[in-house]
Amino acid sequence: MGALIQLRGLVKVYTRGGETLRVLDGLDLDLEAGGFYALMGPSGSGKTTLLNLVGGLDRADEGRIVVDGEDIAAMTGPELAEWRAEKVGFVFQGFNLIPVLTAQENVELPLLLTRLSRGQRKEHAKSALELVGLGDRRSHRPSQLSGGQEQRVAIARALVSDPMLVLADEPTGDLDRKSADDVLALLRLLNEKYGKTILMVTHDHAAAQQARTIVHLDKGGRLGRIEAVR
């Protein structure tokens, strides 16, 4: 039984204004199922790039990304889309809710990719919103919610189709302390109660302390030390 996520020889190169940057330079990493990982490192260390690659949002230039036995680096675009819908939930720094949809509709969105009926979709979304404590804000649009509330809706969206992996990119970056704590508590809930594997990019040390393992990346995209938190 190998690790849930196995990265081997991962290389990602960016060309910008004539210059090439090796953001990830032959990275090897194993991430276990049920883990709660915080990815930290200075800017330019490729932590967001790594997150995007694991989530199938970006393509590696070299290397393998094996998730639950499948090498997603070898998948085509449409295959990756299907894979993402089934296996991954995203939480972004900027929340990224669709402004013209209500909270309920935003959370239902991933369910349109499943075979659930309309009634079933509504039920699932409702439960997810209640889980994050926003059951009474179902019909509000994002512009009518506070930052913290928006992020919680995003978390509800991330878990509504029951993915195995939740990827969070600086989830507390735009939030005040109180909201940030709420969000991190929810992530811990997802991990400890629902068994989801969480990978969180952050530069906030306090937030990183909520995870169980911190993975440090050095500038130049090389693996630094891995420290256990709890």
């Binding site: 949002l57 675009g77 299907e82 991954v88 990224n96 402004p99 013209v100 949809l101 509709e105 349109l112």
Partner: protein, 389 residues
Amino acid sequence: MPPFQLVWRNLTKRKARFLLTAGSLAIAIFLLCLLRSLVVALEAGVKAAAADRLIVQSKVSLFVYLPQAYGTKIAAVEGVERVMRWNWFGGYYQDQGNFFAQFACDQDELQAIYPEIQLVDGSWDDFQRDRQACIVGEATASKYGFKVGDSVPIIGALFPKTDGTTWDFRVAGIYKSTKKNVDDATLFFHYKYLENALDSGEGSGPAGVGIFVVKMSPGADRTEVMSRIDAMFEQGPQVVQTTTEAEFQAQFVSMIGNVPLFVSSIGGGVMVAILLAALNTMLMAAREQTRDIGVLKALGFGDGVVAGVLLWQSLALCAFGGGAGILLAASTEDSVARMLGTVFPGYEVTAGTLWSAAGATLLVGLVAGVGPALRARGLSVIDALRRTG
């Protein structure tokens, strides 16, 4: 299942923009329907022409008159059942701007040769018995308030009265036409009345018959009859050209000029203008939705599905605007027809016109939407999410 609710929500997010674009689409589509209806009206007369009627006219010119004697000769031709003399009178009622057609014709033949002319008021007997009687089309009668029994004074332009007075006709009947080849705006009076006036010197103007209208016997061979009549007058004094009623009406249409070309060029210009308007709006909308596109793709919606959402937005916008334009064209049919009145009778918004308008709308929707849709399809998730919209 694609997120269809996004289509409408995104369109109506910015109400002013949506209404402005839909509004300009509606107006342009309405204009296209109007133009096409005018062309259809011009051709309608030709299409509805009777198959058993022929027109005998001078081969040389519309303005050359044929000798009276031709009448009896034509009547004797095999295959000819009835013949009628028919002169364009070319006068006007009170003011030169009040235009409607007047014709002098053989009153005892009119009803038989033109069964399309149905009286809705008055009687044929009355018309035929009174030399100074006339029948007037419904549209003209209601426009100027002519009723049975009224006297209508017409100022002769082509046939002036020698003493400068008006030609007065008593309305013996008001007619309605059952087909499009005869309009509801004409005034018919006795040929003999004109003939007598010219002979006595009471009126002056060209002598002779403008055209002869022929009704063929049932079963007669049209081409044969036409060539027989033409052959009879080959040596003159006036060479004739016998045509079917359809050809006769078509010649007037083609003389107006290259109407289809003119209308098509204008229509083309209009289409370009609304296409640009729609494209402008769709591109603006697409740019604003860049981040949303990224979100959808991140969630796992395929490139094609996301592109589809943008294409549907364009189609929905055009359906809304074009639909409004089509409704406008259909509902203003009567008012426009009334406005064109007796100058351009026969205006009608046919189902064909409305369908081609729908087709044009669809085309604009597709062309305006394909660019943004393709762009959305090719957008990488990372790039899309990075934009602040």
